[in-house]
């Protein structure tokens, strides 16, 4: 290969690399009167695969209905659905590549926690900048806290798609065998540990499953560290700083130490590549006593018919309780009980050709009728209060989440640095589980945090 050719390649490299940071935006009313429109919706859902219900809904209900609605107005709408259905990180990468290169769908479903990263990169823009007027009667139906999922830095970027809440699930059969009450509600961490100590006497039973380590990924942070940290009264991020090796972080690590050093949890399970799924299977086989999870566990894991670890006797065998603070009144905001929530958000691509129509489509997707239809007869916490009131009644667990958990829950800080902090927290729990002392681990965690987000951002 000649020298000029190499040089040419390098120049081309530079030119193309220059395009990488580029984003574009334009007139919000562009093509507002178009008679023929094409809109694409992108989701991490696939018919017959991941989140199949959502995919079926879009394909079989949303697209035909919305096309009809448009037709009635004399507009020929072509709605395309780009199905995915893969690991969250892979999906996020794809979306980021799309947005970066000025492409991608018009409406994109993302995890609420990515909002900050995409916003800081300029890959998504505040909703009113993209589509202009965002007035909509649906906002009244979406609780403030849930709306927060679609906001970053005080600005609204998207419309949330529903939410969830975390509780302690426990196995009533094992509780009966261990002489524990059938209706259990621990008031402090010590209560949970005490119950664990009783369950330990049962042969072949792991008393407590509190996710730990990097192998579980975000499940460790969401179903482990953050609810625990909320129970110490101090959230992971406050007043512009991330919590370093504070007394509260040390408390949380000490809790992990008590569980995994004291034989109340299974340290090996935390490190297995399929550990989380295995913990589900073990719970369904009556081999785990207490497990912290979101309502996903109830709806999709131990669900008697189609759950991935179905329990035929779920309704009788599985109990749930609020996650207690370290001790009463010690939780964030002086609460006795705490929880963490997350959820997806739909955003509109700033590069869309049809901003007004995309917003119209968004309203359609979030209408009471559409949201109810998306559940396909099952119960789940949606973003809309009116729908929740109709569908949750038949399910005591989900009503419990709506009534008792959502009022006390917290959301993760949707900042670009969050994934790095989350990774550092996961690493810290991994270290404690493998036997290091909470103090040493807290120090190492602080160092990792400083490296990840900078000294000035660590409190």
């Amino acid at each position: 290969m000649g020298r000029t050719k190499v040089f040419g390649l390098l120049v081309a490299c530079g030119l193309l690399a220059g395009c990488l940071g580029q984003t574009q935006s334009g007139d919000q009313a562009r093509n507002a009167d178009a008679k023929e429109i094409t809109l694409t919706i992108v989701a991490n859902a696939a018919v017959g695969g991941k989140n199949a219900r959502g995919a079926n809904w879009i394909q079989n209900w949303v697209i035909p209905r919305f096309t009809e609605v448009q037709k009635a107005k004399g507009v020929t709408a072509t709605i395309k659905f780009e199905q995915n259905g893969t690991g969250d990180e892979d999906f996020k990468t794809k979306v980021a590549l799309d947005l970066k290169t000025g492409g991608g769908g018009d409406i994109i479903e993302i995890d609420g926690i990515w909002l900050g990263e995409f916003a800081q990169a300029g890959q998504i823009k505040p909703l009113d900048e993209v589509v202009g007027d965002t007035g909509w009667d649906g906002w009244n139906q979406i609780p403030e806290a849930v709306q927060g999922l679609g906001e970053f830095d005080g600005k609204r970027y998207g419309v949330p798609m529903g939410t969830d809440g975390r509780v302690l699930f426990y196995n009533r059969k094992l509780f009966a065998q261990a002489g524990l009450p059938a209706d259990w509600q621990p008031k402090s961490w010590q209560d949970v540990l005490d119950a664990g100590a009783k369950l330990k006497s049962l042969q072949g039973v792991t008393p407590i499953q509190l996710n730990a380590g990097s192998a579980m990924g975000e499940a460790t942070t969401m179903q482990g560290v953050l609810p625990a940290l909320a129970g110490t009264g101090r959230p992971v991020y406050e007043n512009g700083k991330w919590q370093g090796d504070s007394a509260q972080v040390k408390d949380v690590l000490a809790l992990y130490r008590k569980i995994y050093g004291g034989g109340l949890g299974d340290p090996v399970l935390q490190q297995e590549a399929n550990g989380r799924q295995r913990s589900f299977t073990l719970f369904s086989e009556n081999k785990i006593g207490v497990l912290l999870e979101s309502d996903y566990f109830w709806r999709s894991v131990v669900e008697p018919k189609n759950g991935v670890a179905a329990m035929a006797d779920r309704d009788a065998a599985v109990g749930w309780a609020l996650v207690p603070a370290r001790e009463p009144k010690a939780g964030v905001g002086g609460q006795d009980f705490v929880s963490m929530s997350g959820g997806g958000v739909r955003v509109i691509n700033p590069n869309t050709q049809y901003p007004r129509q995309a917003w119209e489509f968004m309203q359609f997707l979030n209408s009471a009728e559409a949201v109810k239809e998306s559940l396909a007869g099952t119960a789940q916490l949606t973003q809309r209060q009116d729908v929740n009131d109709q569908v949750l009644g038949g399910d005591p667990m989900l009503s419990f989440i709506a009534e008792k958990v959502l009022p006390i829950t917290r959301y993760r800080p949707g900042l670009a640095d969050y994934p790095k902090v989350s990774a550092a927290l996961q690493q810290a729990t991994a270290d404690v589980v493998s036997g290091e002392s909470p103090d040493d681990v807290a120090r190492a965690y602080r160092e990792a945090l400083v490296k990840a987000v900078g000294e000035q951002n660590v409190g």
């Binding site: 390649l9 081309a12 690399a17 800081q120 890959q123 490190q271 297995e272 994934p419 493998s434």
Partner: protein, 288 residues
Amino acid sequence: MDSSGLGVRRAVGFVAPALLLIGIFLVFPALWTLYIGITNYQLTGAAAANPQVVGLDNLVEAVRDPLFTNSVWLTALFVLFSAVIGQNVLGFLLAWLLRSVSPWLRRTTEGLVLLSWILPSTVVAFLWFAVLSRDTGTLGLLLGQPETSWLVQYPMTSLIVFNIWRGTAFSMLLYTSSLAAVPPSQLETARLVGASGWQTVRDVVFPHIRGHVLTNTLLISLWTANDFTPFLLTSGGPNHQSEVLPVLIYRQALEGGQLGYASAMSMLLLVGNLAIALVYLRLLRRRA
């Protein structure tokens, strides 16, 4: 020299299509990746909007990063034990032993060994979960130790054994055919003077197949050093104990979104590959 009468012009014509494809779809993105390696480019977040050239900072950071040095060490172990020793020795052993067995046994063994090579890696990962997992894993049941979670308690050993299983076929194929090129008369002579199996291999066979040993070692070393399958089995865990370089790069690029940093590490992986290739070239030249 040019016995085929090809002529330089026609030869270039034969090579050009391959080079064109390689140029567009390989050299260009590879050089670009190396360029990204000197920026602080990220997939999302503030640094995504405005990537800055940071020069060699990424490389310096990588060399100082304990995770990176850990990874280099693990990759070296992985290549040495699973490829250079494991696949090489087992591949040769199979080729050597299977010369003298009945055809059906030979075909069965070769078929099984090749099957483990051609199955897709996602499927292979499931197969090995079934072998190595706790409680129901085949290995635990065979050894009467169902409580052992092999991938967690012995992650690198498991990966090394796995990779020997996965990749031995290539060495076996290559050695089978190279052994066919060893003159039978020389083997017969060795047998007559009463040389042991090992002596025969060392003094008679090895000089003939030396070039093949080197080619084989180079290719399997490069493939192993760049193999991503460990991610499917252990995701680098527990606690980075099996985080070989391709896994670390994947995690930095996809889970961390740190594309600049990941590219810089790719560059270092390339340098490592280069070192392997240079050692190989040197040994090959010494032969000539």
